[in-house]
Amino acid sequence: MNEIKATSTIDRPICLLLGALGGQGGGVLIDWLVDAAMRAGYPAQATSTPGVAQRTGATTYYFELFPEKNPPAHPIFTFFPASGDLDLMIAMEPTEAGRAIERGFVTDCTTVITATERVYSTAEKVSAGDGRIDAGPVLEALEQATKQLIQLDVKALSAGTAARGNAIAFGAIVGTGILPLTAEDCRASITEKGVAVESNLAGFEIGLKTAKADTKTAPAKDGLTFNAAPESFASDIAAFPTSARDIIGHGIDRLIDYQNESYARLYLKRLGTVRDLDTGADKKLTGEVARHLARWMSYEDVIRVGQLKTRPGRLSHIRSELGVDAGVPLKVTDFFKPGRDEFLGALPKNLGWLVPNLGNGIALHIQTGSFTGYAMLKFLSALKPLRSKSAQYLEEQAAIEQWLDAVSKATMIDQAAAVDNNLAIRTANLAILARGYGQVRKTGLTKLNELFAEWSSKLTSDAASLSAEVDQMILLAHANPDEA
């Protein structure tokens, strides 16, 4: 009935898959491609599955173009990307490119263009530790698995312009030369579509140039910044292993800012005890304790919050985040809800009667940008000299001592077993439980106290199960508590 007799030297269309998250402009990009193909006179078809309107789920678009003008018959276009004949894969996020490999679409015949900045998923965010998937290994995998990888650091590339990722990707697609589309046709499509024409044309040019240059624009890794301790501490720091000196300097700086120099000296004294017990070749234990100890000793009470919220540079930082200069009136509202415990903690024990029952805490919306709000927080921070008399201070110091004692005892077990501070380092890492505010902090400290109360006896009677208990606690502290 239906006889098709036509032939061509081209055996299949050029296939392009686009993976994006809702709201990233994937639909507009596909419209540009369809229009540009039509302009150039090539048969093409696009389709998509934007079934739900929600703007956070992963969605894909698929495009096929037959690279011959006026072919002898209608080429067959289909709806789904397939393994082994995907020529181009565009991802607006690196794990979406990874997902295309996972699903079997991307192979060594595919050129992948991907934005490099991660957009974290809920699954990654809900972990209490670090649940992030690093873009690095995913990009490496793409590099190995594909014909060519073009990385787009959209933020860096678009700096100073209003260009968005989809327009940059469009330019990069054309820049690869895989589709027989001219830049001229594509520019015309952007103009015709009429959506943010100026910035999209700018983005297109950026992408075009980037693909042609084929330079690797891998994002710079966020580095750590170590603050230095005052010169007067130089000889004290020199008494510690080289590998731990940066973090110790940083810790000292933090604690002087937090309280005073003598508090920083207390830090060094405590750390010295651990150093003396640290027989490990890498001195890792000293480094780990240096980090945890400085963090724990600078626990956040209302005094500290007042201090941090009135940092001299804070308002200008907020201005730069909003992109407004000093002349523009700015209102900053801080969400602060101290409960009775927070106030009790800040006061000496015998003055606790001063604090009324605050129920579920007082929900404060402090106008930090205004004189009164700022002054109030400034007043809180001025209570610093009283801190060492406060109830919370005494509690926290006792807990710290108890933890350090547990670490010390663990080193002895490690030495007996000749395992290079294995248990001691893990015990040091238990300090993660001393975090947060209010109920979260209280629960964590209680857990530690319960464990350390029987530490010595358990160490001698059943070190193996104690070790397992430590692992379990660390694991849970990093997991999603909703699933625990």
Partner: protein, 721 residues
Amino acid sequence: MDGGTALARVTQSGERSFTKEIQKLTLGKGEEFHGEGILAVTKALLQSGVAYVGGYPGAPMSHLIDVLAEASDEILEPMGITYEQSASEAGAAALLSASVHYPLRGAVTWKSVVGTNVASDALSNLASTGVKGGSLIILGDDYGEGSSIMQERTYTFAMKSSIPLMDPRYDMERMVDLTEHCFGISEASNMPIFLNMRIRACHLTGSFIAKDNKISEFNANNPIPEQIYDVTKIVLPPASYQHEVAKFEERLPAAAKYAQENNINEVFPGAGGRLGIITQGGTYTVVMRALQRLGAADAFGNSDIPVFCMNMVYPLITDEIVDFMKDKDSVLIVEEGNPNYIETQIAEIAHRKQINCRVHGKDMLPMAGEYVSNVVREGVAQYLAEEGPAEISNTALEKNTEIQAKTQTAQSYLPGPMPPRPPSFCTGCPERPIMSALKLLMKERGKFHISMDIGCNLFGSLPPFNVGNTVLGYGLSLASSGAIGPALDQPNVAIMGDGGFWHNGFTSGVVNTRWNKYDSVLVILDNGYAAATGQHKVPSTGATPRGMASLLSIEDALKGVGVKWIKQVDSYSMEATIKVLREAMNARGEGLRVVISNNECMLARQRREKPAKAAALKAGQRVAQEKFGVDEEVCSGDHSCMRLSGCPSLTLKQSADPLKETPVAHVDETCVACGNCGEVAHAAQLCPSFYKAEAIQNAGVFRHLGSAINRSLLAMMGAKQ
């Protein structure tokens, strides 16, 4: 943050504006149409002379309804076409009664299989009665990747009600042609007809040469002179038995005859030979691509293997099948979905007609799931390898193995699984805080049972909220708590959107609960639209899709059936919301307690307010620029806030501080300053790291002066800005 009012919404159009699309619907004979699949089908309706169109929106056919709503003045009224966005799919199906007695062509549409479920009462009656005017039901089939509904086949409905089912080959020219033929089949067989459109087909782009639009002989501008009474069209005995007989003795054979005479199904004979593939029209291109990938076809569909493409998949046409199979040793049936009705019918035909041809199908292809390219290629490869002559068999095997190896190699480089990314509430969504509030309330009083509904609210059952226990259908959350409520120690909560309330929730839920005196809590999320489908108007939006002001009140409806306990909450105020929810939970014994959250869908609001703000800024008017932020130094890094808020703009950031063991929270530039993160931090007593920053652009003189004084005072205390 205040919610949008119904009045503000009246002037608001839907998710997209369709001016360009409307122009395409007016194309005349010989002009070329370029556009989306579902729009092409809409144009085909106009070319077929429909007198009425209706439907209930849902992916993937919403655009049909949206475009026609906007085309009201330009196209529908001059042509006398009656149009409505019905209150439910059942209502849309009931519109087809216009074609029972009268020569009126009509089309209705909805999402399948869910909408077909809702419509089935009307459909069964209609199918029994039969029709005079062509009656088309366009089904937006949401089966496969990314679908938000249960995966079932529409085919079952076609079989049980004896309604012909079209599953067209997706070449736009052919698709339009087949849509027009649907009316012919319907009129020839006196049956309504289904046109099944897969999600990717609705969104495909393509072109065809248009015809002039056709005005129905009778229409709203030219009414039928008199009504017709015919008792044989009433489903009562003895007519109902006669209908049943007529379906099988007259109507289905008439449909088959029309299809055969008009070449609805297509044979692509290819190079001939003793193999063959039988496919649904909708999977034709997937089959042809598989053959091409396996070296058995070229880019234009010239194939080594004959292919029988069935654009009408119910009823099957025995003669055509016998013709195709009689000289074959074997056939492969590519039939997406489950159960494999087509395959079993063909096997039965082969058996009864004693055709010596092996029938393959679900033995080589998966029982369930979408028939995507890779799946079909594997199945076809197995078929060619097992049944094909050496040359075809070897090539197919070799090519398939090569593709498999390539794929596995690529996959082997991946460091691990990629993160799942299910849909969730948008940034600033007014429904999110309700889920946060429920989660917090559960921490306070232990977990309680929550019946969810269809719509955005259902995302509350996913991480990070995890607060939904069941979902039973659109508008059925309250009804579904009837039996479970009394059996649990805590009151149960039903969540329902405004869309669900009007669709079914009021009668099946509220009225039933009142009548049976159930003790229950209902939370209505009134965001002004059926938001999940793309902001479709509902009776409480304030306007019809055609822009006519019309407002029904949810609260009045509740009061009308005697609900006493009704409280409104501003969901963006977390403490207040929790308080009201707590009261509702504690008011056990007081019957139905209804909490209504009335804040507008944030997407709709942003779509209206963003351009207005930009314009005001340009015009030099006072504009508040708002954003939330996190003080990195204060953030405790345990991510409690994310487990309670789930906001897309609240994300993770590597801290530069070496003392921070875990990444800190960060509010990115997509923040719309709804304030939920701050409210959650308060309600759950999280760390005091959230702040709201508000810059006043183009402020007045006094504001500037006040601000300057303030700045110098702050500077005296050490602040730099």
